[in-house]
Structures are given as C-alpha cells and as structure tokens.
C-alpha cells in the first residue's frame, strides 16, 4: 500500500491501531472458513465511531475497498479480505455503553462478545437470546452482519428480532441512525435491511439490543431414536401438537460419536438423537414435557432422559455446541454447510445425503436445528489425499442444491459470504438479485463495502437507475425530485 495512505491511516488510529507488516497481516487473511485466504493491504483497529468515519472517508476518496471484521468466527468467508483492500477490525470497540433493565435494552459497541451481554445482565435474570454456538467468542457486530441465529432462535428469533437500532457509518463515511430505542421509528425499516447484509451496506458502530427475562424454568429432554427418520417424525408430532419448544436439536450417529469423543456429554449411542428444550412457567412446562415424552415414545424413542440439574443441562448443550469442532476428533478435515429445508422434507433429504455420501465415498455427519429445518451437514475428508478436498466441497454444494429443490435455503445462519455466492444464482432468479443490488447501490454506489461478497456477479450502480421521466410538476417547479 502506498506509504502516504498508510501515513494517513496511522494519523487516524495511531501506531497501535495499524497493522501493515506481512507477518502480522496473516492473522487476518481468513475467517472461520479457512480454505479461502487473501492478504489485506492493512488492518485498522479503530476505537471510536469518529475513527471509523475518518477511515471510511479515506477509503471513499481513494476508492479503497474495506471489509469490516468482528471476531473472525464466520463460516462463510464474509470477513475474507478483498484484494487491494483494508480490513476494519472492530475488536477494540468493545464497550457495553448502556444497560437499561426497565426498558430491557442494552446498547453496545460492535466488538462486544455475544455472551458478555448475557453475563452483564444475568444478575437481573435477563439474557440476550441469539446464541450462535460460537457465542463465547463471536462479536455482536459480526452477529449483526450475518443475522446470526443459534439453537434457541426457534422460539426467540434471530439477531434481527433483537436489534432495535443501529448507528451505521455508510460507505461514504457519513453517519446514520437506523431504528432506535423505541419501536417503529418513522420511515423505512433500514435496520431490518442492514442486519444480515454481511458487511455490504456499511459498518455498524453502535447497536441497540433487546434483552429477554429468563423464564421461570427450563427443561431439557434427550430422546434416543433408531434413526433420524423417527426423530424427525417426533419433531413433526411436537409441532402438530401445537407446541413451540425453545429449541429442538438433532444429531446423527456420526455426530454423536464425535461429540462423545470430544466432550463426553454422555449421549446415548443411537442413530438419531433429539434434544428438546421447553421453557416457561413450571406448571406449563411440566404439562407439556409429559406430552413431549409421549410423542417421542410413540415415535419409537428407545431411551428418554430429562436433564435433572443445571450441570446436566449444561453438559447436554456442551456436546451439541461443540459438535462442529468435535468432528475434528474423527476426521482430519471437514466442511460444514448450513442449508435449510422445510421440516417435512427431512426424511427425503436425509436419504439423499446418505446416497451422495456413499456415492462419493465421503462420510457426512449431521447436526441440525430440527425445529426450523436448518441442517448442518459436516462433510469429512482428508486434505492430504489428493482430490478429496475438491470432492468434499462439491458434495457440500450438492447438499445445498438438495435444499433448494426441497424449497429451502442455502444458508440459515452462516451467511452467503464468499463461499456460497455462486449458489445465490441457483436460489434466486435474476430479477430477485437485481432488486437486492439496487438496494445495495442506494447504500454503497461505489461498492466499497465488502464488495465481492454475497452476489454471484458484480453489478455497476448507474447514478440514474431506471428511466428518468420528468414529471410535469417538476417542469412547473411545483415539486422536487430526489
């Protein structure tokens, strides 16, 4: 990078806020998806909104693309640097600015760790509901970019449900406030558009979150089924009975083996393990738990256990949340996917995955958020064997195609990022993508914010979109046009 630009950046963030030596830059060459790597020109670590604005203004003036980065735990390459661009790390903007218990709001900077929000309000018995498996390390800013979910979003909703307002530095360096502490602020729901836009619309520098009161009780049930088909039927039975559990998670035999090897969660050895969590008032939960128990038994559950203590419950969840990393115990390498299917398509999609697995000679472990049909197939492979990585990648994309055919989505919570942008053209028609691009152009006409992600083909933003017809009122000077 041109030394005068580095000097400009240094004058904004100071020596400590600028990384430009190649050795140190390697830390930022990828995120949680490690098979894509790009070395950024520089990494900047601002400590305030004003610094973010100043950096982005330089980028805007010099046409330098930038990629905002939180903790770098993303699994789709969303924080992958772009060629000739800089990385804006928000890790040092990590203050919890305000805790407002009576209004159930918390205001944070983007670098605050997800779990720290809950830790901060747990004495008052509140929690921050979105709980991605990486919650002890991932940042709220990253969660906002990806619209992160987690096991409990079945009942509580996703990041977007819990973000009420945002302070955003737009790609030209200007500052806007979207949404607010109160609901239904006048105008378009641009906070709703920004959440989940994967860093392509600007940089969030302050986030207003909603927190939730802890329920009176939480009960977690583990049911062991001969296969995922019976477990899936039990999930459908629970939904059909009119219940909305806080979470419903499923693991197949390979995933159970991995979790056992890694954290000794004491899971029963079976073909399909279902975890059902209910929360709410004690009397309500107990009445419903009896019903869940009956539904599991009538669908062939061989063994049913209810966690008897908070420690037991924590262990059950530890196994589930560690499942991705645990696969490392049974395979040197793996690719995790994030497709979503309508819940009812589960048996058919599972048998297709099994068929693909056999055909390609690659094992696939399955962990899913069964309540909302979010599959996390883990394709196991060994990088040292020539051709296996390519085969594994191809297989994981075939699974996403199955999801699209079943009426689902290519991503439920990990985002499109770099990894799945080619799949966007399979999920959406050209006019759908073009319309999204028009929105992008409204925020970022020069396409500087994370420019190469999400969309399969870049598109230039014309300054005058559509056909511009002068209205008679304008010619008469009676109306203004913007």
């Amino acid at each position: 990078m041109n030394p005068s630009l580095l000097t400009q950046f240094r004058s904004i963030v100071g020596d400590r806020g600028l990384i430009s030596s190649p050795e140190e830059l390697h830390t930022y060459e990828c995120d949680g998806l490690t098979n894509f790597r790009v070395l950024p020109c520089a990494v900047l670590l601002p400590t305030s909104t004003e610094q973010v604005q100043a950096i982005v203004r330089v980028c805007h003036r010099e046409r330098i693309p930038f990629v905002a980065r939180g903790s770098g735990t993303g699994l789709s390459g969303g924080a992958l640097p772009v060629e000739n661009g800089i990385v804006l790390s928000l890790a040092r903007m990590n203050r919890i600015l305000e805790v407002d218990i009576p209004n159930a709001r918390v205001v944070v900077e983007p670098g605050v760790i997800n779990l720290d929000v809950t830790v901060r309000v747990q004495r008052q018995e509140y929690f921050y509901a979105p709980d991605p498996s990486s919650q002890s390390v991932c940042s709220i800013g990253g969660n906002v970019a990806e619209n992160s979910g987690g096991a409990h979003c079945l009942k509580y909703g996703f990041t977007t449900t819990h973000v009420l307002g945002l302070e955003v530095v737009l790609p030209d360096g200007s500052l806007v406030h979207l949404g607010g502490k109160t609901l239904d602020t006048p105008g378009y729901d641009l906070a709703g558009v920004f959440v989940g836009s994967e860093g392509t619309l600007g940089v969030a520098t302050r986030i207003i979150l909603r927190i939730v009161k802890r329920p009176e009780c939480i009960r977690t049930l583990l049911a062991a089924f001969p296969s995922t088909n019976e477990a899936g039927a039990a999930v459908s039975g629970i939904i059909a009975a009119g219940m909305l559990p806080a979470a419903m998670e499923m693991m197949d035999n390979l995933a159970i083996q991995a979790a056992e090897a890694a954290v000794h969660a004491n899971y029963p050895d079976c073909g399909g393990l279902l975890l059902v969590e209910l929360d709410g008032p004690v009397a309500e939960v107990e009445a419903l738990m009896t019903h869940v128990d009956e539904i599991c038994r009538s669908n062939g559950a061989r063994e049913i256990r209810v966690a008897q203590s908070e420690t037991e419950r924590a262990l059950v969840w530890k196994g589930r949340k560690a499942a991705f990393a645990a696969v490392g115990r049974i395979s040197p390498n793996y690719i995790v996917q994030d497709g979503v299917i309508p819940r009812t398509a589960l048996p058919q999609v599972m048998s297709e995955i099994e068929r693909l697995s056999k055909e390609n000679g690659l094992r696939v472990a399955n962990v899913f958020h069964a309540g909302d049909g979010n599959l996390h197939p883990l394709v196991l492979y060994d990088r040292r064997i020539s051709g296996q990585e390519e085969a594994a990648l191809a297989l994981s994309f075939k699974i996403l195609e199955l999801c699209i055919v079943a009426g689902g989505s290519i991503t439920g919570e990990h985002g499109v990022g770099e990894e799945k942008k080619s799949m966007m053209a399979k999920m959406f028609a050209e006019p759908d993508l073009a319309t999204m691009q028009r929105v992008r152009c409204a925020f970022d006409p020069l396409q500087l914010a994370n420019p190469t992600k999400v969309f399969p083909t870049p598109r230039l933003c014309g300054e005058k979109p559509g056909e511009y017809v002068l209205h008679p009122l304008e010619t008469a000077g009676l109306a203004e046009r913007f």
Partner: protein, 430 residues
C-alpha cells in the same frame, strides 16, 4: 374541495386506457366512483389484475405513462399518512386473494396480498394455526395492507411485529420487475431482507403481491384479567413489575382517559394447569391491586377508537415511547390536551407502542399535536397521525425523519425513481 388545493391529476390518455384494457380485459378496468376517492381526489380508473404478472405489467404501463398509482387492498387505511400528492389510478389487489399454500406441518403459509386477514385466519385455523397478529378490521384488511401499514396490536409483545413474522415476499416494481426475497423457510439469511424493507413502507417502494409467513399454533386456552390502578404512576409500576416478572403473558396493555382511573389488562395463553398457576402468580405479584376477570373484547380496544361519532372533531395517533416513560407520557398527553381544550384517551401496550384519541375542535389539534410530538421526540419517541379531520390545518403525519432520510430517499429512487407509487404519503415526501 376547490381546484387550487386539489392534488394534481395527470390526464389519462385514451391510448393508456386501451393498453390497460388490452392487458387486463374490460372487466378488470373500470372508471372510478366518488367512493374510490383518496384524500378527496378521485382517480380515474380502478385496475383489478388477477395475477402477479398482470399487476406488474399494469404497473409498468402506468409508470411509463407518468401516472400516479394508489395501491388499495381492503381500503381500510387509505387515509393513513399524508394526503397523496397525485392520484391517477387505483391498483387493487382484491382479485389476488388466494391462500396459495398452507404448509401446516412446516408452520408456514404463502398467501396473495389481497387475501383478507380473516379469510387467511380461517384457512389456518383448520389446522389449529394462526398468523399471530391482531390487526384492525380483519374482515376487510388485507395481507398486503397490514404489511404496508405495519399494523400491529396487543399480541406484538409476545409474537413480534409483522416484520418478525414475514419470511418471504414478492413485490412488483414500477419498471415491471417481479422480484422475490426471503423464502419459504423460517430460518434463512440468503440475500437482503427485503420482506422487512417493504413492511411498513406504505407501498412506496413496490407493490407486495404475495407474502410468506411463519405461523404459530392457536392457543389451547386463554384467559385475561384487568387490574384496577389509581393513577398512571401505579399503572406504570404494575406494567414494569409484570414485565420484569417470570409471568409468560402474551399481551399487556393499559388504558387511560380523562374521566376514569387507569386499568391494566393482561392476556395469558397455555394449558389449563399453566393458566391457573399464572393467575395465582399474578395475584401474588399485584397484592394490593384489584384484579378481575376481563372479557376477550378488551383486546379489541384500539378498534373502538375508530368508531368515533364526529369525523370532523377527531384525531387518532400512534405513539411510540420507551416502556418506562409510560406515566410521563400520559402526563404529557393530559397537559397538551388540557391546554388545547381537547378530550383524550389513550391505550398503551407494554412494548411502548400506543394509541391516542383526541376529540374537540379541529382548530385546536395542531397546537396539542405539535407540543406532544416535540416532547415525545425529545424522549426518543415518535407520534404519527393516522386520522385527522379534513378541515384541520395542515400537519405532517410522520414527524421528524432523523438523519437517515437521505438514505431512505436513495432507496426510494432506486426502486421507484419516478415516484409512481402512493406519491407524497410517506415520511419526508417518500
């Protein structure tokens, strides 16, 4: 209304008329009657396309012809927002009214925009499910209409707003594009969340032609209680104490008016055993207060605001505040209303959203609304006027747009550059 103040209307040429007839057929193009008037201007034609493609094509022709298009579903909230700047055509979704797919085992539904909320709910109820919202006039209001106006009621506390329930949308843009975003699954982060962009946009970005929603089971049992309190401070204390408790209520609202002491209503849903325990918990929480069973009709309270007797002497506004500013807000309402000699009542949900009814002489509304809006905006809140008498002095419906108006205008100009859709009705002339 005299010609000088009447919104401008572009002359709809014979050629354009013939294009609409050729596209839609003669039965779906009709001249308007006075009952089709929108903010006192009578557009020239009503178009009633029967499918999405027809709607998109008709919109494109109107856009190319420089016509101003007013969108209409059930026609229940056409007066919301500012009076339209122009109105040439009414594009009605009344014939796009099918429930396309109720995937009950997946708890989702795909429905066309012109389907009424009531018809949708009846279909969903066959499998014990619902769209968990309680909009105004469900027998007439359409899916597209409640989405465009972001109409929500008491159930929002537990189930969220429409933005939280919509998972997919198809919109027609003025250039004739038909675009979908989101999908049919609840969990989906592929691409931008355009369902949220068009929810609450008052039809100014595109025409919603279909929507996909996540559903909830119908409640097994419900029960409601009213808590009598002596003043707004006590009402606020009760509401905040309930919100801070472990009760699993689905709705919580309080009523205030000039002539009676406030009441707080709470709604529970669940199993019989669960409801009994909740009722006991509620009683122990509000020891000194008077608690009585409440009829389900208390949850339609906001609709009663609209059954006013004198349309020339009524204002209805939606207000938004922080929940802990409740008592202060009621005091501000009382002060503004008193100083302008207005009669008032208010219904506030625990979410901080609420409704205000003012009654009195049309000349007195302006001062009361201006001072109240200014106070609420200082507290980070807002006040939107949804109904006002036509003889009241001009008053912006939406209030301060904040610092994102330029960005909103940029979005608008990318999707509806010619201001074809509902011109002038939304915030800041969007």
């Amino acid at each position: 209304m005299d010609a000088a103040t009447q919104p401008q209307s572009t002359t709809l040429t014979r050629a354009l008329h013939d294009q609409f007839v050729a596209l839609l057929g003669p039965d779906q193009v009709r001249p308007t009657t006075p009952s089709d008037a929108v903010s006192a201007v009578q557009p020239q034609l009503v178009l009633e396309p029967v499918n999405e493609q027809q709607l998109a094509d008709a919109l494109r022709i109107a856009n190319e012809g420089g016509l101003a298009v007013i969108l209409r579903g059930g026609g229940t909230k056409l007066g919301w927002g500012n009076p339209t700047a122009r109105a040439d055509l009414i594009l009605s979704t009344s014939r796009l009214n099918r429930v396309l797919e109720h995937a009950w085992a997946d708890l989702t539904v795909t429905v066309e925009a012109g389907c009424t909320v009531q018809a949708l709910q009846q279909t969903l109820a066959q499998h014990g499910q619902r769209l968990a919202i309680d909009p105004l006039w469900p027998e007439k209001a359409t899916v597209g209409g409640i989405l465009s106006t972001n109409d929500s009621g008491a159930l929002r506390l537990r189930f969220g707003a429409l933005r939280d329930l919509i998972i997919g949308v198809t919109i027609a843009l003025p250039d004739g594009t038909l675009a979908s975003s989101g999908g049919k699954v609840v969990k989906n982060v592929a691409g931008y969340d355009l369902p949220k962009l068009v929810t609450g946009a008052l039809g100014t970005l595109g025409v919603i032609t279909r929507a996909v929603f996540r559903l909830h089971p119908l409640p097994r049992k419900t029960c409601s209680f009213s808590i009598a309190v002596s003043n707004p401070d006590e009402a606020q204390k009760s509401v905040l104490a309930i919100q801070d408790s472990k009760l699993a209520h689905v709705a919580l609202q309080s009523h205030f008016s000039v002539e009676s002491t406030p009441t707080v209503d709470i709604l529970f849903e669940g199993t019989e055993a669960g409801l009994d325990a909740q009722a006991a918990h509620l009683r122990s929480l509000c020891q000194s207060a008077k608690i009585s069973d409440a009829p389900m009709s208390v949850w339609s309270a906001r609709q009663y605001f609209w059954s006013f007797s004198d349309s020339a002497e009524t204002v209805i506004a939606k207000i938004s505040i922080l929940p802990a500013d409740l008592a202060r807000t009621i005091e501000l309402i009382r002060r503004s209303a008193d100083s302008s000699h207005l009669h008032w009542q208010s219904l506030m949900y625990a979410t901080g959203l609420g409704w205000l009814l003012l009654e009195g002489s049309a000349d007195n509304f302006h001062g009361a609304l201006t001072s109240l809006r200014s106070e609420l905006e200082k507290m980070g809140g807002s006040l939107a006027v949804l109904y006002r008498p036509s003889n009241m002095p001009e008053f912006d419906a939406w209030g301060s747009p904040g610092n994102s108006l330029l960005l909103m205008k940029a979005v608008k100009s990318r999707l509806d550059p010619s201001h074809t859709l509902n011109p002038g009705r939304f915030l800041g002339g969007l």
